[in-house]
Symmetry: C2
Subunit: 545 residues, 2 copies
Amino acid sequence: MSSEPPPAPSADAAEELAAGLSAATLSKKQQKKDARKAEKAEKAAQRQQQQQPADAEDPFAANYGDVPVEEIQSKAISGRSWSQIGDLDDSVAGRSVLIRGAAQAIRPVSKKMAFVVLRQSMSTVQCVLVASADAGVSTQMVRFATAFSKESIVDVEGVVSLPKEPLKATTQQVEIQVRKIYCINRAIPTLPINLEDAARSEADFEKAELAGEKLVRVGQDTRLNYRAIDLRTPSNQAVFRIQCQVENKFREFLLSKDFVGIHTPKLISGSSEGGAAVFKLLYNGQPACLAQSPQLYKQMAICGGFERVFEVGPVFRAENSNTHRHLCEFVGLDAEMEIKEHYFEVCDIIDGLFVSIFKHLTENCKKELETINRQYPFEPLKYLDKTLKLPYEEGVQMLKEAGTEIEPMGDLNTEAEKKLGRLVREKYNTDFFILYRYPLAVRPFYTMPCYDNPAYTNSFDVFIRGEEIISGAQRIHTPELLAKRATECGIDVSTISAYIESFSYGAPPHGGFGVGLERVVMLFCALNNIRKTSMFPRDPQRLVP
Amino acid sequence: MSSEPPPAPSADAAEELAAGLSAATLSKKQQKKDARKAEKAEKAAQRQQQQQPADAEDPFAANYGDVPVEEIQSKAISGRSWSQIGDLDDSVAGRSVLIRGAAQAIRPVSKKMAFVVLRQSMSTVQCVLVASADAGVSTQMVRFATAFSKESIVDVEGVVSLPKEPLKATTQQVEIQVRKIYCINRAIPTLPINLEDAARSEADFEKAELAGEKLVRVGQDTRLNYRAIDLRTPSNQAVFRIQCQVENKFREFLLSKDFVGIHTPKLISGSSEGGAAVFKLLYNGQPACLAQSPQLYKQMAICGGFERVFEVGPVFRAENSNTHRHLCEFVGLDAEMEIKEHYFEVCDIIDGLFVSIFKHLTENCKKELETINRQYPFEPLKYLDKTLKLPYEEGVQMLKEAGTEIEPMGDLNTEAEKKLGRLVREKYNTDFFILYRYPLAVRPFYTMPCYDNPAYTNSFDVFIRGEEIISGAQRIHTPELLAKRATECGIDVSTISAYIESFSYGAPPHGGFGVGLERVVMLFCALNNIRKTSMFPRDPQRLVP
């Protein structure tokens, strides 16, 4: 362990305590802790003084400056404690804090005063610089701070205070009275995206237009080209936190139902679903491709005795689909389970799973949902405590009655799905439902036909706001029926013999489903483009960054 | 909802209750529930009778048989409740149960008696058939059961009983007195792997050899070729359950430390770590490759304001390494985080993370660990509550003193790592430690050099039982230093300009690490081959199944 001085001067807690700014509100334990910290800080400051003689023209020169990279090469551990902007509220008023954040806005007021708004993820706080010998703040220091380029990484030490008037521009309702300010890493002066532009809502644009003002719109492509900046908008911070929560809840729920999380290979020898839209490559000289779904592998895991499995992993589709809802690479949430009697056992899992995900988001991600709502307003998702299950034929009938003729043994196109979503919403008051018993002709060969009518299957799709997010079914578990169905679907049985054979080694009845993570988030939040819910999306035109 | 009769006759709970076998031990609530179930079951049985007239020669013909696939095409939902073998203990003795499992062993005793051992994941139970008119079991039924091929999927209804002598061959200490038995899906008579052979330990082989017996050994390749069978061995069931727990704990710990789970693309335009060993393909006509690590993307997420991120996903390495510890595709557990002052902040996360994983496995996966131990005996991992951090130079010195000369500015080879593991174990009593401050020459260009000696870096590897499982470091966060280091490493800066530029938009100091999930499980359990901890491993020779 190195005993070198800290990389940046440490919080001058001693001074704050001496000024009695906040001692009254501190517990004894905290006072002791602060005293120890103050002692440490003082020693560090002394060492600092020896190293770095004060600017002759500015007695407070040590209180600000650019920190050279050498100081951030893990030179030392000061033991100082860092605050999170999101944690700052009136309960810490008067306390000295140390914060690192991005300089989102810099507002010079006069030679003696300036504001710097610091940001961490979804939270911002206003830091106030007022030149004063008491505070150790010089006019040079104010000038230094106003020269920051936006988005530079900045360390601020200061005292938390309550502003006289409520703050508009920041998410925290406290300010920081700056005592020290250091720049850790400067951003270039002109960024390819202005964050304020990127964070504007449609309402902001309308308001500006009414006022005769012209605001800059940041296009989707520009956003994606400079994703490392675009991701800093509050709504993007919220979207990917929600995505993480959807996945967590997916895992948590399934684990509670005795599912085992597995990982299956993405490099495979054949194509996983029979041909089209597959990425091909050479694997040590052999032809190989990227898995379009973990389908066959999760079935093998069931045959391998795992009873219930799930997988979260990338799924690859080389489709040339330039739509708002297709990606060439997306995150698949897949599950497969033994069925005792009926594929509704799978539907029951989906019902419990998604209702618990929706509830969790609504209850525990309020800040994230509000943040998205500010930029992209949306109506909350309507769902029932017990998910509606609608037979496919009934769906077709509903569409027919509403004037949309559907080939009854064909699939629904996107438009028909959208319309059915609206009809179901009107009739059943839900944006989330299961449509089951699809025609045989539109499902993969391994789908179990219905016992009473082989023109239909034990299969289903699940919809949110009229868009499909889940596909699932009972699978064929006997080699004879599987070979028969493959042949009927024009598949050369010899190419999938290993798959078919694996059901002759003792295979339980089973079924499962696959979900697209990005679609769930997009549709829950009613976003208009799946590229908004993929951190680094891949579509036919985009392979970077 | 269909109102058809159930696919297989339902548990005759009425009969069991009438016989008073267990009513005394049941709660009132349970009795009511059972009575309702009995009523339901009786009705179902009546319907069954109408459909399927009893075999003229066997009045109990309805109590056994092969269930045709039509009956398992989600024909109906009987509402019967199914038991898990692992839950059966003496507390349910006398109760009627319904179970689906694989017929692991079939042991005919006489024309009137037979045993069928049923298995579910890691648990087995012995089912006893004794011909008796009272029980509704005929000699034909006994014959039917003894004709099962091993691994066939079988439904058993019966009464839980306590055997007079403790059972050897099964994991449950109760038996089931069979009343009804149906075959759901037959396995072929001769399987490519005999499960009993596949589950034997080295000790079994030695014992057999002493007894002059020759047992069949199932080779690693045969296992992998028929993985859907091989996965059914108790040790494999345990290994992949432990793998799931390692991942869960990884996620849970990092989430508790405010990390956000993300997903980054596996299809990328360049090669992620500068060239060699990369799988190449065409992406809509453009040259593309598979990510060898999420390195650059998780750094972009940090620059994108996420402060702390992790990812669990596949990592692809086209290396021609035919060793016990390399795979061409494995599951990477990656994390990246802002560093305030020192990369030891990252080491602290690793310390807390792995100690919590090890503790969790030891405390909550006892059955799994014992199961693996039976087939592959191993010493429990030694680890310290506070993980040892050893400077690289000290490691080199320890090796030197033990007679192994190492190029001090080079890397450790596998042999030296193994030896260092032994030396550290002797000196510090731990199998788990962090080796830090690696020479610059052996780390990637984006690794932050040490502030006091640029021939070393702010980097580390982590070892379990003398094998590397984690690599990590502080990363360079300024574009100038990054470009300089890339050039020094012979990388054409123009090929990574987007990466370098992204640090000019405001980038915080940061660091992170990557772990191989399969290696963690392999080394925690001291297994001798990484193919044992990958469900469907990919090595230079293997792309199937």
